[in-house]
Amino acid sequence: MAKDFEVQVLDDVTIRFAGDSGDGMQLTGSQFSNTAALFGNDLSTLPDYPAEIRAPAGTLYGVSGFQLHFSSLEISTPGDSPDVLVAMNPAALKVNLKDLKPGATIVVNENAFDPKNLKLAHYDSNPLEDNSLAGFNVIMVPLSKQTSAALEGLQLSMKDVERTKNFFALGLMYWLFDRPLEPTLTWIEKKFGKKQIYLEANQKALTAGYYYGENTEIFTTRYHVKPAKLEKGSYRSISGNEAVALGFVSASVKAGIPLFLGSYPITPASEILQELSNFKNFGVKTFQAEDEIAGIASAIGASFAGNLAVTTTSGPGLALKSEAIGLAVMTELPLVIVDVQRGGPSTGLPTKTEQSDLLQAMYGRNGESPVPVIAASTPSDCFDMAFEACRIAVKYMTPVFLLSEGYLANGSEPWKIPDVDSLPEIPVNYWKDKETYNIYARDENLSRPWAIPGTAGLEHRIGGLEKAHIYGTVSYVPENHEFMVRMRDAKVKKIQDDIPDLVVMGDEDADLLVAGWGGTYGSVTEAIANLRKKGHKIAQVHFKYINPFPKNTKEILSKYKQILMPERNLGQLSKLLKAEFLVEVIEFNKIQGSPFKSSEIENKIISLFGGENVN
């Protein structure tokens, strides 16, 4: 029967799964992503869920979504607007409708459109009946009924049956997009291996969904997205938080010293702690502390004693760690601080993405307290930057900030698995020589020696009080204080010699330079690619190193007539660039807890060129 369906080949598709926060949408989305990745598509995902774990069913604020963009071409964003929405109930439809592409396909669970759910979603009339969805391709599927029918005969409660309907929906999408069931069937088997009845129920629901597509004529066309032509190599799908964890383990192996993580659970950073707690056979020690402060304090203690020390958090936790970061600055101990940014201030938007902690990382401490700051640009880049943060911390005996954000942390994309031998060594030389030892003597990098407890003859005291140059004893001498303040600053600035220059992408000779940092990389890159295809000349740079800036920053910024900086804050990096380089920067700010759509950036650029919106 399948042969009767037309198969249309598409370059790329964006799907959003949406339902109650208990409907398993995150699971459904990530299963589809894994299957697409295994098939060889390029992909990028955007989980979007409420802070409440199980908000009341059917409500607008309880809607959880997972968007994924898969393609036969190289892509860099999770897609601006979904081509397909799978809505498990009226609330999911209502919340997501405004984001869809004109003419998008909407697959709804028609069984969920009952008076109670319609009321919860604040619908006065049933949108499936009142023609308000005209212009969309609405596919009504009795998802709940079909799922129960498929599970007939299994000794399951109504509630359990209802809980498997996400697999039915997933099966249907696999059919629609011509994807195999096997990866998910295998996953279910692994996950529910010991609970035979759930294993069977979920597998049946998935299969039933697939054949529902095959055996009914609700869709007239199937779609096929060919594998992408990625660079040759082995790939796996990776999220930003997983990548950070792997980056740290790798740095620990390459430095030849144990990794110590002191951390306190916080959204959206907790997965790094969870991931690392699996890696005990790498000697990784994860200490789930009593609070954020103890998280960093234990890491500082571990660093003093010679471990590769790391602490992970998000904005509110970072605020609590401020004083201890100052201590790490003063004691000049290596430490990596990961801030997976979320919407702020205060508790803010815990599950939504933002990049508004930059100034906190730069300046959020008492005194002159310079700390290197680097930022990851994509989920897989989180691996490289976590590794890099460790390298800088150890080489320069300093705390280092690694900024990530919710969107990178939870989003995933294919990661080209690096060859272990190609990762550089991170030399660690604990000081051993008694004769030449001085606590605050400095090497060519202006770093002080790392002499760890247990080393005979090097007993010494460090702490938060100002230290005498070279000897490291407590010193209140005014000139020494100024000297040491300048020394700590000079040490961080010196890192400039050891980081890559900014690279101009796109049209180097353009008038307009679009500068981004951190998680705006994908949207900016896609926007510029689209506009260049249309003949516009645009240059692009992306900041991964913010303190210090790359050496050629001034030279590049001064070459362009206009500099546009899209940021998901009120212009934090713009402020730094203006202050440091006295350049004009056109700010483009969005603070809505979500990434830029590339079309938003395209429109902004077009308006700078004096044109009309493209989308």
Binding site: S237, T455, E459
Partner: protein
């Protein structure tokens, strides 16, 4: 897993543990005595100097590490137990000591203190309890008595104080003792006991601040009044005290009663026999509360010592166990865990 490396042939003296730094406490401060006792006891422990790490927070007593010629970390207010935890977990071979004042350990650092006790990290925590904020010049502390007039409580403090021994016992500390700066021998004995304990050892030291809270413990340290106000706890011995050893404590259910042994009504055989190793913490709480009760002596000595596994021991045991189970970590394998695919 590991205890401190004991070296048979280390022959250090108290002088080896002194630094060349001028000690900057006020003349007459009780901290001098604590430092002297620690320096006297340290060579006895058979631990090489380089394996000691002293960690402190902020406050007068937190200058302690600067005066110990070992590894030392003068950190930030209240965080010493957390930093010390990191030191111990990084290298369990080290002998880790915390020096902290009452404001540092029980107020701003209270959370770290109770959690270090709960986890039973193998480290020693010495509380310098002078019941006042000294370095900030004389405000009431979390151990100041209610009603105390200080610079920040001119009409008397309306805070109830903590009983540090109770906090430690309630939080799961496995060794809990109390001593006094003015009783060097007893203090040394407690230090030795704490050092020998495997797990979190807590010593509350009553310490006189002769500038802002002078005489806070005088009834307990003055030759004339000491015997009537202090009961020395010794394992297996009755709770007996007084100038003529004529007073004792007996238990009536869970209620302690002071009895007079001179009248013939009660004898030594009626008294509470102290059991340091009692698994049940109940009596430790009763003992700690003596200082709240009218006409009761203040106990000094070891309140409680029990054996439990330590966090650091369990941590390294788990690392070993998982390594045995999974094999030593292999990065290339780890990168490829989960689903991978090839692009040719």
């Amino acid at each position: 897993m590991s205890t401190n490396n004991v070296m048979e042939n280390v022959k250090l003296t108290a002088k080896d543990f002194a630094t060349n730094q001028d000690v900057r406490w006020c003349p007459g401060c009780g901290d001098y005595s604590i430092l002297a006792q620690v320096q006297r006891v340290s060579p006895e422990l058979g631990i090489p100097k380089e394996k000691f790490v002293w960690v402190s927070g902020i406050g007068c007593s937190s200058r302690f590490p600067y005066y110990m010629n070992t590894y030392g970390f003068h950190s930030i207010h209240g965080r010493a137990p957390a930093i010390a935890t990191g030191v111990k977990l990084a290298n369990p071979d080290l002998s880790v000591w915390v020096a902290a004042g009452d404001g540092d350990l029980l107020s701003i650092g209270g959370n770290h203190f109770i959690h270090a006790c709960r986890r039973n990290i193998d480290m020693k925590v010495i509380l310098f309890n002078n019941r006042i904020y000294g370095l900030t010049k004389g405000q009431y502390s979390p151990t100041s008595e209610k009603g105390k007039k200080t610079k920040s409580s001119p009409y008397g403090s309306i805070d109830f104080p903590f009983l540090p021994v109770n906090m430690a016992v309630a939080s799961g500390a496995t060794f809990v003792a109390r001593s006094m700066d003015r009783d060097p021998k007893h203090l040394q004995a407690m230090m030795l006991r704490a050092a020998a304990h495997h797990g979190l050892a807590f010593i509350e030291v009553y310490q006189n601040c002769n500038i802002f809270n002078d005489g806070a413990y005088e009834p307990l340290t003055d030759k004339e009044t000491k015997a009537d106000n202090v009961v020395v706890l010794e394992h297996g011995k009755p709770l007996i005290y007084g100038k003529n050893n004529d007073k004792g404590i007996r238990m009536d259910g869970m209620n302690p009663i002071v009895v007079d042994l001179s009248k013939g009504e009660y004898s030594v055989n009626d008294l509470w026999i102290h059991d340091e190793f009692d698994e049940n913490p109940g009596r430790s709480f009763v003992l700690a509360h003596f200082s709240d009760l009218k006409d009761f002596p203040t106990p000094v000595g070891v309140f409680r010592q029990i054996q439990k596994s330590t966090y650091d021991g369990d941590l390294f045991a788990q690392l070993d166990e998982v390594t045995k189970l999974k094999g030593k970590g292999d990065l290339a394998k780890l990168f490829r865990s989960g689903n991978t695919w090839e692009v040719a």
